[in-house]
Amino acid sequence: MTRETYVDFFDKKSNYFDFLCGKIIRNSFFQIYGKYSGLETGYGFFGFNVRSTGFVINEYCGKTSNPEFNSLEAENRYGSLRSLYIDYLKYQFPKNGKANQVDGILEDYLDLVLKNVSAFSMRGKAVDCDSVLTGYYILELPKLVDLKNGAKLNYELLPVKKFVYAIGK
């Protein structure tokens, strides 16, 4: 799995060994064993590169409105979802310049999840406005090398995708 991610991440040419490994890990026996033993995870936590941090921001009647949780554990789990949205970049900027059908479906799926989260954030709120603007943004921060050279720490939010949802009164 590490090799497969390596080939994909660094855009390397795959060889027969990769093909064989791919066959093995996608074998149904291996997949079942991986699921029940936890081996499916691979172990490349934060490997190659750490994903950028993403935020979902809902703007409603000029105010931001985000999901509220009662526990830190729920915050951590919501953090996993936030990092999943970064796949939008993969779908919007496909490697060979052409999006494939599966990526299109997965992007639609993320849109649907984002809409659900947005609706959840609005629960229990007074309906004063007729729409909510939901956006997914990536946190842009200066590189460490620039900080070493004296750059100032500026955080910026780069929009990746935005939606406007109408609210039925």
């Binding site: 936890g38 750490v50 830190l72 979802l81």
Partner: protein, 303 residues
């Protein structure tokens, strides 16, 4: 056959005395940690496993392999025969999971408890597959090992009530080696994937990780701005600690300092990234796999 004997000779026969406290600690502390981890999300149980969850159950169900049923699948199946609410099914699975972990901690019907805990854990996680993270995979791996290891043979109600015989040193040696080899490979590949990219060598990866917004983090990432060289050093240290883990824990003189360093690394992950339960589980794995088995004396806990 000679080769097999030679391998067994090196890896199992010459392992020396193994303190059985490792296997009972794994069961007792592991089950309790998984229990507290699950209890910690109960205030938001309905947000994730509710009929009207943050993402609707049928939508979460659409994005998975079919290797394990979700609560949504179980609900659909039951409703072919009897009308039962989604929430009732979700609550039942959660209660079974909690009871099986308590039973496993006590060592009551250890194998059955571990099997039920593993299956219910997988159902619960499969049901919220877009919200799972590292600790959930570590829980699956640990529960799988709790299922196949003879964890009920020490300090358990099974042992007390059924007078089960303890496993001998050789049997324990095999299980311990399987466990150790697994984590050596895990750390090695984790280190390898970090070493293959440039960002762990120049500190950019740690800098990015420190800035991955998390309310549970104890430190403001801005505090680190003035110490970029420390960040670079920590990145390189992480790669080396993980990549060389199999060597570090195999050389007797290096084992304890290496495990202490790895534990400090996991404490740092917990404090800086807010991944407390992930860190606690990893610390437990290191202690039971590479520290407890080498306790010299049979204390009251390992009798």
């Amino acid at each position: 056959m000679l080769l097999v004997n030679r391998i067994l000779d090196i890896f199992v026969y010459k392992i020396g005395f193994i303190n059985p406290v490792w296997i009972s600690s794994f069961r007792i502390y592991g089950s309790l940690i998984f229990l507290f981890h699950f209890l910690s999300i109960l205030p938001d149980f309905h947000t994730f496993w509710g009929q009207n969850a943050i993402v609707n159950p049928d939508i979460m169900d659409a994005n998975i392999d079919n290797l394990m049923p979700t609560i949504y699948d179980i609900h659909q199946l039951i409703n072919k025969y009897a009308a039962l609410g989604f929430q009732t099914v979700a609550n039942t699975v959660a209660i079974i999971y909690i009871i099986s972990l308590i039973s496993l901690a006590l060592g009551l019907m250890s194998k059955i408890s571990a099997a039920i805990a593993l299956l219910t854990h997988l159902v619960l996680m499969q049901s919220i597959n877009i919200f799972i993270y590292g600790v959930d995979y570590m829980t699956t791996i640990s529960l799988f090992y709790l299922l196949i290891f003879p964890v009920g043979k020490y300090h358990s109600l099974d042992n007390y009530l059924l007078k089960k015989s303890n496993s001998d040193n050789f049997e324990q040696g095999i299980y311990l080696r399987i466990f150790q080899i697994h984590w050596c490979l895990a750390y090695f590949f984790s280190g390898l994937s970090k070493a293959l990219g440039p960002t762990w060598w120049n500190g950019e990866a740690i800098w990015k990780a420190l800035n991955s917004y998390n309310q549970a983090s104890l430190f403001n990432p801005e505090l680190w701005v003035h110490y970029p060289y420390i960040i670079t050093f920590l990145g390189i240290l992480t790669v080396l600690l993980e990549l060389l883990f199999p060597i570090g824990v195999s050389v007797k003189i290096l084992r304890k300092p290496w495990i202490v360093s790895i534990i400090l690394m996991h404490i740092a992950i917990g404090a800086l990234l807010g991944l407390y339960f992930f860190s606690i589980v990893m610390i437990l794995i290191n202690l039971v796999g590479f520290w407890f088995p080498y306790f010299k004396t049979l204390t009251i806990f390992s009798r």
